[in-house]
């Protein structure tokens, strides 16, 4: 089992706020890791730190065996890491096609324009955006922008994909569809870390779950174990009975 990502003792502080405290975990290749925790727990900060947007104050990050602590986001991308943002960031004045091509051009495959365009066609149909290929990204609605965000990340054929709340705001059937998509992406060999609040979905799709609260990890393990962990329940709900009911509703 190869470890694609190793996070060791990572801490990050912003002024008076300790956003991350000694976060440590390993991620095996081909796994789906679900990252959960109450709002403000530091999940997106952790993503930003893994992705190179922030440099950890303490600790090390190893990606594909290489120490990438302090590397910049473009270094990460060029090694094969891609991510989506919680609040989507489309390149507004560029077309959907150009957005997706950018993913292919500047990711680790470093494609030329022609090949990137071919990849873009594939990914756009996969994401259901083919009909809007020549529309300006800024003119899409929020759901379409989310798909664009995902398509752009996929076009890079990443080895590690960081998904930040891709299920937010979707209807139950859309969630099912997206979960299927995520499983399909994984079957193509991509390792995934997902931040999610939709408990049912993330519990069912993840191989392992990692729980953050106030920047610290309070639980890590298989979904069915984590959900029974009293610390987790308390962090979210304060009521152990709720957890049981959640799992049963699944």
């Amino acid at each position: 089992m190869t470890l694609i990502l190793q996070v060791e003792g990572v801490s990050k502080r912003f002024g008076g706020l300790q956003a991350l405290m000694q976060v440590t975990f390993d991620l095996a290749q081909g796994h789906i890791l679900g990252l959960i925790g109450p709002n403000g727990a530091g999940k997106t900060t952790l993503f930003n730190t893994i992705n190179g947007v922030f440099t950890p104050d303490e600790g090390r990050i190893r990606f594909l065996g290489r120490d990438v602590t302090g590397a910049k986001p473009y270094d990460m991308a060029r090694m094969g890491m891609a991510r989506t943002h919680q609040i989507v960031r489309p390149l507004n004045e560029l077309t959907v096609r150009e957005n997706v091509m950018a993913g292919a051009c500047f990711g680790h495959e470093n494609q030329g324009l022609r090949q990137a365009s071919i990849i873009a066609d594939e990914v756009m149909s996969f994401a259901g955006l083919a009909a809007r290929a020549n529309q300006l990204a800024g003119s899409l609605n929020v759901a379409q922008k989310k798909r664009l965000e995902m398509a752009r990340a996929l076009a890079a054929h990443p080895k590690l994909l960081l998904l930040d709340e891709v299920l937010a705001g979707l209807t139950p059937s859309e969630i099912d569809g997206m979960v299927k998509t995520i499983l399909e992406i994984r079957s193509q060999g991509v390792t995934i870390i997902m931040i999610e609040h939709v408990m049912k979905a993330i519990m069912n799709v993840s191989d392992r779950i990692f729980v953050l609260e106030y920047g610290m990890q309070i639980a890590e393990g298989k979904p069915e174990d984590v959900v029974r962990n009293p610390k987790v329940v308390e962090a979210y709900l304060g009521d152990p009975q709720m957890a049981k009911r959640l799992m049963e509703e699944g």
Partner: protein
């Protein structure tokens, strides 16, 4: 490649070619001078567009490349005795080097901070050159009249310089187009849209921005040398005229930033406006209309920013979406 079906490119090229070749066929010296000024403006606007329109970094100091390139070229001509073609290349290389060094210093600044830094660049460059002995300090560099002899005399030299500028202007349009449709250009435009997202996508932003800056500096440096060669001398005040930077900005905004055709249209339109003002008989109070050039430019720019921020080309693309793909 289908991108060559771009109407905007061919229109722009056609305009530059027509404008450039007309005085050559008519052998008209005053027409040549007028065209020369417009072609200069086209090169300045197109090159600034690489940094401003494609990369999204507003620069108020673009004239610095023109001025410094001009100085380097003039130095090569007078002190080193280089032939004109070599001097022109030296001018381009000189401003490219300046862009590289300057870029390393200020491209780390984002958006407004970068723009602020570029405001002071012009003044700093002017002051520096005015104190720099090898460049003639405050008096500048003056060419001996005999320098025109190898080119067949002053008259011939004027025409030769003109041919060179026409060639460079045509190249500037092509260059602009090639960049826009390249992978590099896609990177620049991604930076413009969202620099942080661009980094996450894998674009090495510091390098891309520096390259854009350097590329935008080469052609101004070359035409700077040509202009001052024609002029016979260069002084700090002439080389670093802040107004030139401002005009380039207005031209880009007018025509449409981020497009190939925009700066060309903007340059043509602006120069037309300028000529109209200069030759107008209208006076406001006791002052001729030409004194109000800056005021009119300012009002124009404000109106554009408020109502058609995409300039003329931007407005056309919005109004007629079918034109969007073809008018870039």
């Amino acid at each position: 490649m289908s991108q060559w079906k771009n109407l905007g490119l061919w229109l722009a090229l056609a305009m530059v070619v027509l404008l450039g070749f007309w005085p050559i066929f008519s052998r008209d010296a005053s027409g040549r001078e007028a065209a020369f000024t417009i072609l200069l403006a086209i090169v300045m606007a197109s090159s600034l567009n690489i940094v401003m329109g494609y990369t999204g970094y507003v620069s108020f100091g673009h004239v610095v490349f023109y001025g410094l390139g001009g100085y380097v070229g003039m130095y090569a001509l007078s002190a080193l005795g280089w032939p004109l073609p070599l001097a022109v290349l030296a001018g381009g290389a000189g401003s490219a080097t300046l862009a590289f060094l300057l870029g390393k210093a200020i491209l780390r600044l984002r958006g407004s901070y970068f723009a602020l830094a570029t405001i002071g660049v012009n003044e700093a460059a002017r002051t520096f050159v005015a104190n720099f002995a090898p460049f003639g300090a405050a008096t500048g560099i003056e060419l001996q009249f005999s320098i025109y002899k190898p080119y067949g005399g002053a008259m011939q030299a004027l025409w030769l310089t003109y041919y060179a500028v026409v060639a460079i202007a045509i190249f500037a349009v092509l260059f602009s187009f090639l960049i826009k449709n390249s992978k590099f250009g896609l990177g620049l435009m991604s930076i413009r849209e969202d620099e942080d997202a661009a980094e996450v996508l894998g674009i090495v932003t510091p390098n891309a921005k520096t390259m854009a800056f350097v590329l935008s500096a080469i052609l101004p440096g070359m035409i700077g040398t040509l202009f001052f060669f024609k002029n016979g001398n260069v002084e700090p005040g002439d080389a670093f005229r802040l107004g030139f930077s401002i005009e380039s900005l207005v031209m880009i905004m007018l025509g449409g930033q981020g497009t190939v055709l925009g700066p060309v249209l903007g340059a043509l339109g602006y120069q037309r406006l300028r000529t109209t003002l200069l030759t107008s008989d209208i006076s406001i109070g006791s002052l001729p209309l030409k004194d109000f050039q800056l005021v009119i430019s300012g009002v124009l720019m404000l109106l554009i920013i408020l109502f058609i921020p995409g300039g003329l080309v931007g407005w056309l693309r919005q109004r007629f979406p079918s034109l969007r793909r073809v008018l870039a």
